[in-house]
């Protein structure tokens, strides 16, 4: 043992030296933190004061107030309706747009504009789209439905297009060789290869529409979000807690159901 330690002088270089890039990254982050905290006027005390308030907030939130269950249930029902209808239309439209945007099936004169449209749908947050639709079609569920249809297109049509671009082309050629029409090629060569993934994307989108449908109400586009926002503004924190718990329960049930659907297909 003694002989071994003798052979290890303390001058040996560390084989794992921290590289200059990682040091530079850390330095940049620290400098940024100092800069941003000073420009935004953030202090540590404010953070502490805020966290000090949290037990007051929690004590007002619990126990949750489920007494206005009629209002709660009608809001949840409207959110569900928005989510289901918008997922249906969003998925149906996305199927066609996804086909049109797939570069291996369509000429670029079709696919490029469709891709542009899909990217445009994706680049705005649903809430911003919701504001525009509330202006266009007024307060209520219709604005929420239209918003989420656009949000679904932005996300799911892109995934559909990517899934279609990844298919094996042998089957397409085989079906084409029989003299099949374009629709038959889609139905018998493309769809069987991508159908399972489509179900996965669609159930994911239903999930995410369910989450978003509880939120678009904040800007007046129907659903439980409006009830939630007004409860916040009236400081009814116990009712807020009830709404939040119902939303989380709804989302968990939705995830459970979409897992079942994925297992069936």
């Amino acid at each position: 043992m003694a002989g071994l330690t003798q052979g290890l002088p303390s001058k040996t270089e560390n084989p794992f030296k921290s590289s200059w890039t990682s040091r530079a990254i850390i330095a940049v982050i620290v400098a940024y933190l100092i800069y941003s905290f000073s420009t935004l006027g953030l202090t540590f005390e404010r953070l502490l004061i805020g966290f000090g308030e949290s037990d007051r907030l929690l004590s007002r939130m619990f126990p949750p107030d489920f007494s206005r269950s009629g209002l709660l249930l009608s809001g949840i029902a409207e959110s569900l309706q928005i989510a289901i209808i918008s997922s249906f239309f969003g998925i149906v439209i996305s199927l066609f747009l996804g086909l049109l945007a797939a570069r291996n099936l369509m000429p670029s004169i079709v696919s490029i504009p469709v891709r542009g449209f899909i990217a445009l749908c994706r680049s705005f947050h649903p809430v911003i789209i919701a504001i525009l639709f509330v202006k266009a079609v007024g307060f209520g569920a219709l604005a929420g439905i239209l918003t989420l249809v656009f949000a679904s297109i932005g996300f799911i049509a892109k995934l559909f297009a990517e899934a279609i671009e990844e298919i094996s082309f042998k089957q397409v050629e085989a079906i084409r060789a029989t003299g099949a029409s374009f629709v038959s090629v889609i139905v018998y060569a493309v769809m069987p290869q991508v159908f399972t993934r489509f179900i996965g994307f669609a159930s994911y989108q239903l999930d995410s529409n369910l989450r978003n449908s509880t939120m678009v109400g904040i800007v007046g586009a129907g659903g439980i979000g409006g009830t939630l926002f007004s409860a916040f503004q009236r400081f009814d924190y116990d009712f807020v807690a009830a709404i939040l718990m119902t939303i989380i329960a709804l989302i968990l049930v939705g995830e459970f159901l979409s897992n079942i659907v994925r297992r069936v297909f």
């Binding site: 794992f16 982050i29 940024y32 933190l33 941003s36 420009t39 935004l40 953030l42 404010r46 953070l47 004061i49 805020g50 966290f51 308030e53 949290s54 907030l57 029902a77 409207e78 569900l80 309706q81 928005i82 289901i84 209808i85 249906f88 680049s123 705005f124 947050h125 809430v127 911003i128 504001i131 525009l132 202006k135 266009a136 079609v137 007024g138 209520g140 569920a141 219709l142 439905i145 989450r211 978003n212 509880t214 939120m215 904040i218 800007v219 939630l228 926002f229 916040f232 924190y237 939040l244 939303i247 989380i248 989302i251 968990l252 659907v261 069936v264 297909f265």
Partner: protein, 267 residues
């Protein structure tokens, strides 16, 4: 089934599979029919929509360029700060939770489940709702926005990071363990080099999402460009609204391009 029957008729799925599929279709159709019949939609509003849209666009053009240096630019910078600080703050909380959630680092099932619970609850509540909660704590302003972004991102970053950690090649880890390396050294020299590319791409991806999300947080009062948007909208300054929307669009596109560039260089 006899062989004769199989020869007569080929079916892709078994009877129970078809039954399950049929049940799913039935449930979906009935859900759609139920929603369609009960949802409160006033059809006149839909017919009216194109003319309303035209009206809105007429009010929106030309863009109000003069408002950009006065109020939009500062708020935009604030939005970027919210997104960046929120993402950085997320890491402080998401990395420990990811370590707790990865079964090859934390062998305890109970701890994995506890971490999972925090990750799921962070994701289930929308960032606007988190913002409302933090406004109740910190008052309206940037801090509530940063906290909302940070807490909301934990679920996303933590889940993906835990998955990346669970997928590492255990050979290097065992080799390090055999040298008698300490727990910290194994983490830094064994796990980190393998997780690093995934880590950077997760963080960059989340930052990109956070830039979009922080742009709307101001609608409920949590700072950034959303506050300016909300004010402009309440005052019916549609030309300013369109200017704000265009600036958000540009910033989102630039953020996405930056993320793609960094990812290509780094990974």
């Amino acid at each position: 089934m006899t062989t004769q029957m199989i020869d007569e008729q080929w079916q892709r799925f078994t009877f129970s599979e078809r039954l399950a599929r049929f049940a799913v279709y039935l449930c979906l159709v009935s859900a759609i029919v139920w929603s369609w019949q009960t949802v409160e939609v006033i059809p006149e509003f839909l017919y009216d929509a194109p003319s309303q849209f035209m009206d809105m666009f007429e009010r929106m053009v030309p863009l109000d360029y003069t408002s950009y240096p006065i109020s939009i630019h500062g708020a935009m910078i604030e939005t970027l700060h919210i997104a960046t600080l929120g993402t950085l703050f997320t890491l402080v909380l998401a990395i420990p939770l990811a370590l707790l959630n990865a079964p090859n680092i934390t062998p305890s099932k109970t701890l994995n489940w506890i971490a999972q619970f925090f990750l799921v609850s962070s994701r289930s509540v929308n960032s606007l709702v988190w913002a409302l909660l933090f406004i109740a704590l910190f008052g309206p302003g940037v801090l509530a926005g940063i906290m909302a972004i940070a807490i909301r991102s934990i679920g996303f970053v933590g889940k993906l990071l835990a998955e990346a950690i669970a997928e590492v090649n255990m050979g290097t880890i065992e080799a390090l363990r055999a040298t008698g390396a300490s727990w910290g050294s194994i983490l830094v020299k064994g796990y980190w080099p393998q997780v690093m590319p995934a880590f950077y791409s997760i963080v960059l991806f989340r930052w990109d999402i956070n830039v979009r999300e922080s742009a709307v947080l101001g609608l409920v009062g949590a700072g950034g460009i959303g506050v300016v948007l909300n004010d402009a909208q309440n005052l019916f300054e549609w030309q300013k609204v369109s200017m704000i929307l265009v600036s958000i669009f540009v910033v989102v596109i630039v953020a996405e391009a930056v993320v793609i560039q960094i990812r290509n260089r780094l990974i």
